[in-house]
């Protein structure tokens, strides 16, 4: 059989994902041949950059469209999210090297799994069929489960992996249930066809459809840790290797938002009134519980876990408002969040050394006196996570909230602002510990070239977006055009 043009086009359009997967496979072999793990990591980075290059090339050729019988869509919306995934993967690899050596978890499969997870997220972002969506999600989730438990010597890592796996399986089951109900009603799993079937078959009032819809919310809500489907997050984030926590709190979360947007805007766009009501409630709950519980934490990793929950509560405003500005605001938010959150985790990793976890708040006492530069970088991230200008975090919140106000969601924005203020308490507490307490003893920083590079990138971008936000906003705005 001759490959016809559509199949060729399809292969071209999924080539970024293919490159990542092939690199992953290659890394598995390389790991056997080469002792130095840095080489494996470096090869992984090359694969990612190759994939980025191909992706940019495809975009610049103006290629887009549905391929593989309408199961995979290459558009700007997906590409923007893929950008986030690439950045997440690169930064994660950069911050992992030294950490894994200290934690005695340096194995080549680690990097391969990051690549597989990234490929899974990319499939999610590009899925225009629920089956592909589900499989991408499983690919991502399965890789992340393993990565969570990769420090086999540590009980908390094992425990986190088991928890994440079981609860993740639970949410996958719910997602499948939602998919099957939707399929049962509309006879299709294609996202676009679902939308037209809903209209054509007059299903908009069907309670069964609502049940499916709620299952989607539960399953996606699990991935982005919306309350009350967030229970796994603090335990898993705390137990997982810090580099993987950084990865999880950003990549899979962004992927969750990507499919959230794709499914709810394209398939269930006509039910906006119904699902936005549910999401508003969940969003307020998420912001509230995330912030209130974060205040109580003295473990920084756990605090960041709750903070990541509350950030999901803000970002979901973009889905709720369902306007182009709202969506671009949300995408911006996620991109900025990627930098500042991975940055904060990178500082955590820097404080981690043999025997010292560097996760307790008390480890940060007087850090400004002993390590002014590290503290200053942490200060940038904490300010940014709080949303204090002129950091990127402020811009993220500003544009998102403005968009939500324009879409007519003033009351929930007020709630969001209130919880942003509440969040200042726990972020600035870190700053307070660093700058206003006396150091208890000398803290050794475990720095390395790659970690420094990651810190420089994240800190610089966090500041640059804060000072020159317009440029970045334009990118996100252009990306929504594809949706």
């Amino acid at each position: 059989m001759v490959l016809d043009n559509t199949i060729l086009l399809g292969i071209r359009l999924i080539s970024p994902e293919l490159i990542l997967i092939c690199t992953g496979l290659f890394l598995l072999l390389l790991d056997i041949l080469i002792k130095r793990k840095e080489t494996v990591a470096f090869a992984g980075l090359i694969g990612i950059f190759l994939s980025i290059w191909v992706n940019l090339k495809l975009s610049s050729l103006g290629l887009s469209g549905n391929v593989f019988s309408g199961m995979f869509v290459f558009d700007r919306y997906g590409s923007f999210f893929k950008l986030i995934f690439y950045i997440t993967a690169i930064l994660t690899i950069l911050i992992s090297l030294r950490y894994l050596t200290i934690q005695k978890g340096g194995i080549g499969e680690y990097y391969a799994l990051i690549l597989f997870a990234t490929a899974g997220m990319m499939f999610m972002a590009s899925a225009s069929d629920l089956i592909v969506l589900y499989l991408g999600l499983e690919l991502m989730a399965l890789s992340t489960y393993i990565l969570t438990g990769i420090l086999r010597g540590q009980i908390r890592s094992n425990e986190a992996a088991i928890k994440y796996f079981l609860l993740g399986a639970f949410s996958s089951a719910i997602l499948l249930y939602g998919i099957s109900l939707t399929y049962g009603l509309t006879g299709t799993t294609n996202i676009n066809e679902i939308a037209s079937s809903l209209q054509a078959l007059n299903l908009l009032k069907s309670p069964m459809l609502f049940l499916g819809l709620i299952f989607f919310i539960v399953a996606f809500g699990f991935k982005i840790a919306l309350v009350p489907f967030h229970m796994w997050a603090p335990d898993v984030y705390e137990g997982a290797p810090t580099s993987i926590t950084a990865f999880m709190s950003v990549g899979p979360k962004a992927a969750g938002f990507a499919v959230f947007g794709r499914v709810f805007f394209e398939a269930f766009g006509s039910l906006h009134l119904e699902w936005s009501g549910i999401l508003i409630t969940l969003s307020i709950l998420t912001m509230a519980i995330g912030s209130i519980l974060a205040i109580q934490q003295t473990n920084l990793k756990r605090m960041l876990a709750y903070s990541s929950i509350s950030h999901a509560g803000y970002a979901i405003l973009g889905i709720i408002s369902a306007t182009p500005e709202g969506v671009s605001g949300m995408m911006n938010y996620l991109l900025i969040y990627t930098f500042m959150n991975i940055g904060a985790f990178a500082v955590l990793i820097m404080l981690n050394s043999e025997g010292v976890r560097g996760e307790e708040l008390s480890d940060y006492e007087g850090l400004a006196k002993t390590h002014p530069l590290a503290s200053f970088i942490m200060l940038i991230f904490m300010f940014s996570l709080t949303g204090i200008p002129p950091t990127a975090g402020f811009m993220a919140k500003f544009y998102l909230f403005m968009a939500a106000i324009k879409a007519g969601y003033m009351p929930i924005v007020i709630v969001a602002v209130i919880f942003s203020v509440v969040s200042a308490f726990f972020y600035l507490r870190v700053v307070m510990y660093m700058y206003m307490k006396e150091p208890k003893g000398e803290v050794a920083l475990s720095t390395s070239g790659s970690l420094n590079l990651a810190l420089i990138i994240t800190a610089a971008v966090t500041l640059l977006i804060g000072i020159f936000p317009s440029v970045f906003l334009e990118i996100a705005k252009a990306s929504v055009g594809g949706l």
């Binding site: 088991i162 928890k163 079981l166 609860l167 639970f170 949410s171 719910i174 309670p207 609502f210 049940l211 709620i214 299952f215 919310i217 539960v218 699990f222 309350v227 009350p228 489907f229 229970m231 796994w232 603090p234 335990d235 119904e274 009501g277 549910i278 519980i289 209130i292 519980l293 205040i295 109580q296 002014p372 530069l373 200053f376 002129p390 811009m395 500003f398 544009y399 403005m402 324009k406 509440v422 308490f425 726990f426 600035l428 507490r429 700053v431 307070m432 700058y435 206003m436 307490k437 000072i467 020159f468 936000p469 317009s470 906003l473």
Partner: protein, 638 residues
């Protein structure tokens, strides 16, 4: 364009380098970065000044910080005559004080930190004066406040310094809150934050009112009063003046630069900058004039009986700032800015001179324990004397010209002008008196300190005395740019220069009246000096006699009208009791710590219960998820 951008940027670069590498690499060579940076700014400011002098106004928008629909905030700078004058004041005095600090702070363990913060302060202050919109102004405004707070508490081992920093921060919060609201209201009213868009529109909003709690309030008046709130806090006017005397806990160069010459005048600058708005509201103008006038006499009277050398000068600063606001309130914006400019030189000189004294005496600040320093520290003495003569308004010196300008404009301003003029003239008498009381007590007579101190008396090193001498030149000659026209026609150069921005003052009077005002202020100044001489110049018991004869008044003044105690009783205590944790202390992080720990205490019970749900058991988590889903289904479908 790069030239103008570099003016604020150079100190910023100095800050970044010092804070990053100061601790390990630069250490006690911090001044090699900071001083050239600020000198560079000074040179560039001079060049900018000449550009403005030749008739240019520089207004650059670098880029739009935020674009969101109709909300558009550009970042940019504006150099017009007003800014140019401020640039010269800020950079010239900063340069001298930076150089002085090399000697003064020598050997301090926070040497690099000191120069880093000081550079940051200069950057912030330059941003403040060069702003071309209210947002950048607000940024600079908050940033100078932050630097001031860092520097007051610079010696954080000292509890009093920590408390002073805390006090300054909290008191300024009150003012800044109003200022922030004012900026927001400006945006809501005019739809923009740019000066160039707001000021031309100002006329069209006259008569607009805002309904607040059932009262219709004139929009412009409200805006002006809110902005003025900020000025009252920052420029230490009544009733928010309490922080400034305490701020003297910081290193003396800081007092000279921030709490005398530059930052505290930010309020004056801001009101002058917003003159198109203030002019439209007579209520706001009257408020400004009244606050200024009462502060002038009120602070001067406290200064009469204080014994701490730096506090005397601090009250003098508050009083002089009152003069400036008085002038602004009477519509004489140029006179206010003129006084700001001359005051910067002689007041910085007074502070640096007192710093030189304190340095020699190893942190002795009580003037009752000084005396006879004249022969040990001739340069300090003579420069100090010049500054004191200047502030007392002795003809020919810069203070005379600017103060006379204010007195005359107030006199001629109509309305309450005559009354306020009388207040200001009495204050002028007090100014001369306390300045020379200080001179006589500290520099004349016999040394009253310990033998140990006497043994070590010496003139300060030249790195400190040279700036003193340069500032003395300023204290003498700075005023020559604004000679009143009855002395020499067409010599009010600064008035002409600022007129395009600040306009010409209203009010007319005859030449005879003008001579009268000028003559009276000179006589009053001399009278103050003579009275001081009579009481302190010779060894008499006159001060004690007067003190005991007017015991209640003396005590009232000595205790600064009990304002601190009043605030303590009416505001601080209740608040403190209400939220012990929140208010415990700031510099040591107690405010943040308090709130951070206090809020959880408030929601603690709730949070604790929430936290208990997080048991760590997978089955519970699954159950919560399922329950959540079921509740949603219940609500949505049924």
């Amino acid at each position: 364009m790069l030239k103008y951008t570099l003016i604020p940027l150079l100190p910023l670069i100095s800050f970044v380098i010092n804070i990053l590498f100061g601790r390990n690499a630069i250490k006690d060579k911090a001044h090699w970065i900071a001083v050239p940076a600020v000198l560079g700014s000074f040179v560039l400011s001079l060049s900018a000044f000449t550009d403005v002098l030749s008739g240019n106004t520089i207004n650059i928008n670098f880029y739009n910080w935020i674009i969101s629909g109709d909300f558009n905030v550009p970042i940019g700078l504006l150099i017009d005559p007003l800014t140019a004058v401020m640039l010269i004041v800020v950079t010239s005095i900063s340069s001298l004080i930076f150089i002085y600090s090399i000697g003064y702070m020598h050997g301090d363990k926070g040497y690099y930190r000191f120069f880093a913060y000081l550079s940051l302060f200069v950057f912030s202050m330059l941003t403040l004066v060069m702003a071309n919109n209210f947002l950048v102004l607000y940024f600079g405004w908050e940033a100078v406040g932050l630097c001031s707070y860092f520097l007051i508490g610079f010696w954080f081992e000292k509890k009093s310094a920590v408390n002073a920093g805390k006090k300054a921060f909290i008191v300024n919060r009150f003012g800044d809150f109003g200022f922030g609201l004012g900026v927001i209201l400006i945006f809501l009213t005019f739809g923009s934050l740019e000066y160039a868009k707001v000021f031309p529109q100002a006329g069209s909003v006259v008569g607009q009112t805002i309904n607040i709690l059932g009262y219709d309030i004139n929009t412009i008046t409200l805006i002006c009063l809110l902005l003025f709130c900020g000025a009252v806090g920052k420029s230490a006017q009544m009733p928010l003046h309490v922080w400034l005397p305490d701020a003297m806990e910081g290193p003396t160069p800081v007092s000279a630069l921030i709490h005398a010459a530059t930052m505290v005048t930010a309020g004056v600058f801001m009101v002058a900058r917003c003159n198109p708005l203030f002019t439209l509201s007579s209520t706001a103008m009257t408020t400004v004039a009244l606050v200024g006038g009462t502060t002038a006499i009120f602070a001067a009277s406290i200064g009469l009986v204080q014994n701490d050398i730096k506090r005397i000068i601090a009250y003098s600063t508050v009083s002089q700032l009152g003069y400036m606001f008085l002038a602004l309130g009477m519509g004489a914006y140029t006179a206010g800015i003129f006084h700001l400019y001359t005051h910067a030189y002689f007041k910085a000189l007074l502070f640096l001179g007192s710093g030189s004294v304190i340095h020699t005496l190893h942190d002795e600040m009580n003037i009752q324990k000084m005396g006879g320093l004249k022969k040990y520290m001739p340069i300090t003495y003579w420069t100090f004397l010049i500054a004191s003569l200047s502030i007392s308004g002795i003809p020919g010196l810069s203070g005379f010209f600017s103060k006379d300008e204010i007195l005359w404009r107030v006199y001629a301003g109509g309305g309450m002008g005559k009354f306020l003029w009388a207040l200001a003239t009495i204050a002028a008498f007090m100014t001369a008196f306390y300045s020379f009381r200080l001179i006589y007590l500290a520099f004349h007579g016999k040394f009253r300190g310990t033998h140990e101190q006497e043994h070590h008396l010496h003139e300060s090193p030249s790195i400190m005395t040279v700036p003193l001498m340069l500032l003395a030149v300023g204290a003498v000659a700075a005023g020559w740019v604004g000679i009143p026209h009855i002395l020499a026609p067409h010599s009010d150069r600064i008035g002409e220069f600022l007129a395009p921005v600040l306009g010409h003052p209203k009010g007319e009077g005859t030449h005879a009246e003008e001579w009268f005002v000028m003559g009276l202020s000179t006589v009053i100044g001399l009278a103050g000096i003579l009275t001081a001489y009579a009481m302190y110049g010779k060894k008499t018991d006159l001060p004690q006699k007067i003190g005991s004869a007017f015991q209640p008044i003396y005590k009232l003044l000595y205790n600064k009208y009990y304002v601190d105690e009043l605030y303590d009783k009416t505001i601080v205590r209740p608040v403190l009791n209400a939220s012990q944790k929140v208010f415990l202390g700031f510099l040591d992080g107690k405010i943040i710590e308090g709130t951070v720990n206090g809020i959880p205490a408030l929601i603690g019970a709730f949070g604790e219960r929430l936290r208990k749900i997080q048991t760590g058991m997978i089955s519970h988590y699954g159950l919560v998820m399922a329950a959540g889903a079921l509740i949603i289904i219940w609500i949505v479908i049924f």
